[in-house]
Symmetry: C2
Subunit: 157 residues, 2 copies
Amino acid sequence: MNTHQHFLDRAVELGKIHMDTGAGGPFGAVIVRDGQIVAEGWNSVLADQDPTAHAEIVAIRRACRALGDFSLEGALLYSSCEPCPMCLAAIYWARLDGLYYAACQQDAADAGFDDAYIYRELSKPWPERALKAEQGAADEARRVFQLWCAKADKVQY
Amino acid sequence: MNTHQHFLDRAVELGKIHMDTGAGGPFGAVIVRDGQIVAEGWNSVLADQDPTAHAEIVAIRRACRALGDFSLEGALLYSSCEPCPMCLAAIYWARLDGLYYAACQQDAADAGFDDAYIYRELSKPWPERALKAEQGAADEARRVFQLWCAKADKVQY
């Protein structure tokens, strides 16, 4: 059994364990750097009453806390399922080096999870999305962005 | 001044205040239900060393905590900027009724934020994405999904 397989199995196992306790859906994730587990996460949408508490988001937050860094460059994510768009975007923001996943988007859809639907929504322009959105107050927001650009002591993230 | 304008202004103001304190980038968000603010959020990526601590995610988590519910059906989100894909997907997961935003994706790009890049990445198939990904252990993960489907006491979210 190779190392990647070992960490993927652990991600799947975490999903199973915490589904059984009622924490949330059947999803687990593990973040690994230099061959060592830095953090583990599992879906806790129900336990935490938090729709953003997907396994990958939880694992990323814990790994960043453990390492004291908002960047996970050099680390890998192992997930029991292909990430939903929220989690995939979070993987980009966290600058993870790569991803190993077990079940795929279609498997998630078959189990009743909306990942594929949200991927389709994100790919549409605003007028075609189910979510209604309206723009306003753009000038003042842009002025704050200009202050950010001019801010001498800012940390780029 | 209409009500939507008032809440948008507050979202922009929150971004400015917490950019100035060094909490993170210049982004704020407000969640409103029945004309009342339920929760406020701002980017705290730097203060919390958390790449997922975008204003909208923080506001969603706080609103769910305040209401004791993983669903924000019936509520609106006001954001100082068009949401990045992580936050937009979170808005779908949270079942918010609608969105008002100030600055747009291009404004964020001009200020050095990668939202547009991540939207493009998410719209690609795996082989074309910058993030390297590999699949494995799918059978065991699918078996856990089947257990989820068969779970008698599960809560759908």
